[in-house]
Amino acid sequence: MSRVGVFVCHCGTNISATVDVAKVAEEMKNQPGVVYTEDYKFMCSSPGQGKLKEIIDEHKLDSVVIAACSPHMHEKTFRNAAEAAGLNSFKVEMANIREQCSWVHPDKAEGTVKSLDLTKKMIEKVRLNEELDKIVMPVTKKALVIGGGIAGIQAALDIAAAGTEVIIVEKDVTLGGHMIQLSETFPTLDCSQCIMTPKMVEASLNPNITIYTYAEVEALDGYVGNFRARIRRKAKSVVEEDCTGCGICQEKCPKKVDNPFEMGHGKSKAIAVPFPQAVPNVPVIDRDSCIYYKTGKCRICEKVCGPKCIDFDQQDEIVNVDIGAIVVATGYDTMPLDRFGEYGYGKYKDVIDGLTFERMASAAGFTEGEMKRPSDGKTPETVVFIQCVGSRDESKGVSYCSKICCMYSAKQTMLYKHKVHHGKAHVFYMDIRAGGKNYEEFVRRAIEEDDANYIRGRVSRVYEKGDKLIVKGADTLSGRPVTIEADMVVLATAMTARKGADKLAQTLGISYDRYNFFSESHPKLRPVETNTAGIFLAGACQAPKDVPETVAQASAAASKVLGLLSQETLKREPITAEVNEANCIACFDCLNICPYGAITSKGITDRDGNIIKEVAEVNPGVCQGCGLCNAACRSKTIELRGFKDNQIYAEINSLAV
């Protein structure tokens, strides 16, 4: 017979006001297996916990039920206290008579009856609880950062600074992400390349950082502290180690291609680096464009290459890396604009998006920093900036605010004004959201010093008339229609999750929201963690963010990684599945249904080493304790510790009427 102690908490009057706690304590005395009951003012208080320990010791309790608040609130507290008294922490259960009883059922009689049931139910369960030991796992002291933009680089640099090895996997040919495309950054107007390039170089030179560009994470196995990632390094057709970055191949390549880095405006070559400061400064052959891959002839780059590092037969390489923690920093995309016909994007060359404007304003961009509109190269005298294109627009776009557009539109009016002194910038906005340090001042500067004309309202239509773009809109403050003859229109496009973010989330086993942004574990208290232990988030892959926020989150993620990797071993809850090998018949429904790949096949051998039967085996490090396998198993041969069938049965049976 078990020796259960039942402690009924008053929670001040939070419980005792609507539950007869004394009666609960008294009646539980009669429950089989119960040897001690008491009601107490504040069980979670220091004296309350002290009492718990004392009684466990004095009455040699082997199980404890605390009838009090939600286990989400204080289960850990009481389990720790019980453990300190020498009781296995999993022999403690809580009956939730506060959140799910006293606070929601004002009738004392009803509340008391329900409390009796709930407490009895947990007594029946706890009697069947097994003593479980926490699972101890080793930690691989190495981190993986997915994404080589500002978020990824910052996280990698911070992790590396602590002496921990880190791998950056970047999908693109070079590090830099979106930030390296920007001209100048708000609210200081410092040149993005000037501040980003040194970080990229620093990362590439740091001995603790390994960079795989032109690479993607294809699969992830394992669990916190012990992940194994399969990385595909796509064939660059150039031997990276031998390339000196001289650029002669790019110069001699006869095949011109659109340059996506310049948003399709400049030209590049079939073998190229996207921009001169690329890290690593190694060109890649675009096999879709290269003449050789199409016709089998050309090979000019091969001929001109001094170090002979062109390798047309290069294959993708698979690298498996063991890591202990992961930072996901895959950034964002911008919303495709084909849905917004009213703005004429795609139809009129002089309607451009914000990122194209960034390239136009960049000294290294396709106009070398000069304001020249795409259609005829003329200097635009009047420019209209339209904000919230797709953002805060549930019907055509997304309901969220993309957060950075207010600021970058203000910045862009300033950049424009600084280059075209006589020009006029108009901004159509819904609200100005400038909630950051020096942000409001920055917007005021655009308006007051750089003469931007801010119009509160929406644009209904943009159309061409002669060489002008007619922008029709409304000024909702004055209530009048507005028509502006513009030379160029710049759209502040909504930020969206990366294309394929959902797929990556599935690969990594993290959750994502309905916009495919990755979900943080808790919006306030665990903003950089995911629900999958050991995987952290940085930057705009989680939600729209500007550079300072991204950098802050990247450093936060890095500190979480370092905290995790500073431990020699990890302990985790032993609520994992276990297989009764004698009964398992290896139908592998469990293996098929497990969301974590925690179940594998195992051969049972006889004394001579011959495999006599196959059974399912659970990797307790990977198992997260969802219990899907338990429900799927027809003969209940695989069971979830802590929630085994007999425990649930006992709960149901205790509620028999």
């Binding site: 005395k29 009669n30 089989p32 004698a582 049976n653 205790s654 509620l655 028999a656 009427v657």
Partner: protein
């Protein structure tokens, strides 16, 4: 032996009289699924007396497939336990076959052998068996091959034989039978000097010698590991249908069924053909393979029963043959062993 006459309306009157006396009548009756089983009968029109034999045996009347033997209830730290004392009514088994009547004697030996199962004996004591001689036999009937007869009297208190012109000739076999006829003397009339009864069935007489089978089984050197078991029973799927329909199979299991803070201990039919029947808690199973289990059932009928109870364990009702999904035919084994043992 006294002979009596039941006129054409005799059964009708008898059932009416028994109903009046609050006596339970169990007889062959067609259930909703269309099968004939032995169940409570309230009118003679419900009786299916032309059916060769019911799907299940009537043993359920004495040895229900599910029976509570004890109840418990937790009361605080106490447990109240109460033995089950069901109300057992006077019962008449009406229109059962002579083979089944004989089987009830064999069953009795088991339930009174070392421990007297009072639930069983009470039921049996309070029962009168009025069997009906068979006029039809099917391909599976083999009573005559194991020493019984379609008009055998063993186990019956009264044996009815159908009269061609209607009604039944009643042979009062036992004292109890005579007493019963006396109680119902208006129904059990004096028999005429000569009654023209319908011809008794003649089941195929098989080339079976049960004594020879017994001595072969006694000779374990020869029989225990004989390949015959494997040959015959490798196909057995262990469904246990044979044990549930058999009139002499008597194995049961005792389990507790909890319900909230109370519960009961029940006695439920079990069968030696189930793989877990002999499974030990250690995981060891002395009868690991189906042929071994089938050997057990066969031996139980033709060796253990005769050895222990000096009774035959098989009455040739043929139910196990009819119910078997893989045509595992006990007479095939008996015929073969008779040959082997020559």
């Amino acid at each position: 032996m006294t002979l009596k006459l039941l006129k054409e309306d005799g059964l009708k009157k008898l059932i009416e009289a028994l109903n009046k006396a609050d006596t339970r009548v169990v007889g062959p009756k067609r259930n909703k699924a269309g099968m004939v089983t032995y169940d409570d009968v309230n009118a003679d029109t419900e009786l299916e007396l032309d059916e060769v034999i019911g799907r299940y045996s009537p043993k359920d009347a004495f040895f229900p497939q599910h029976e509570t033997v004890m109840r418990y209830k937790l009361d605080g730290k106490d447990v109240h336990v109460k033995a089950e004392t069901p109300v057992i009514k006077e019962t008449v088994l009406l229109g059962v076959r002579p083979c089944d009547a004989a089987a009830m004697i064999s069953l009795n030996k088991v339930f009174t052998w070392d421990y007297v199962d009072t639930l069983f004996t009470e039921r049996q004591k309070k029962a009168t068996i009025i069997s009906l001689a068979c006029n039809n036999a099917d391909e599976s009937c083999f009573c005559t091959s194991v020493g019984f007869a379609p008009d055998g009297t063993e186990g019956s208190d009264i044996l009815l034989k159908k009269i061609k012109s209607g009604g039944y000739l009643a042979e009062l076999i036992t004292k109890e039978g005579e007493a019963f006829a006396t109680t119902h003397k208006s129904i059990f009339e004096n028999a005429p000097a000569k009654a023209d009864t319908v011809a008794i069935a003649e089941p195929t007489k098989l080339d079976i010698d049960i004594d020879r089978i017994k001595s072969w089984l006694d000779d374990k050197e020869k029989s225990w590991e004989h390949p015959l078991w494997e040959q015959l029973a490798a196909k057995c799927v262990g469904c246990g249908g044979c044990t549930f329909v058999c009139p002499t199979c008597h194995c049961f299991d005792i389990v507790d069924e909890p319900y909230g803070d109370q519960g009961k201990r029940v006695k439920n039919w079990d069968g030696c053909q189930f793989d877990h029947f002999t499974l030990h808690a250690s995981g060891h199973n002395p009868r690991e393979h189906q042929p071994q289990r089938w050997r057990n059932r066969f031996s139980c009928k033709f060796k253990i029963y005769p050895d222990r109870f000096e009774k035959k364990g098989c009455v040739g009702c043929g139910r196990c043959i009819r119910v078997c999904p893989v045509n595992l035919d006990i007479t095939e084994a008996m015929t073969e062993i008779t040959q082997i043992a020559k």
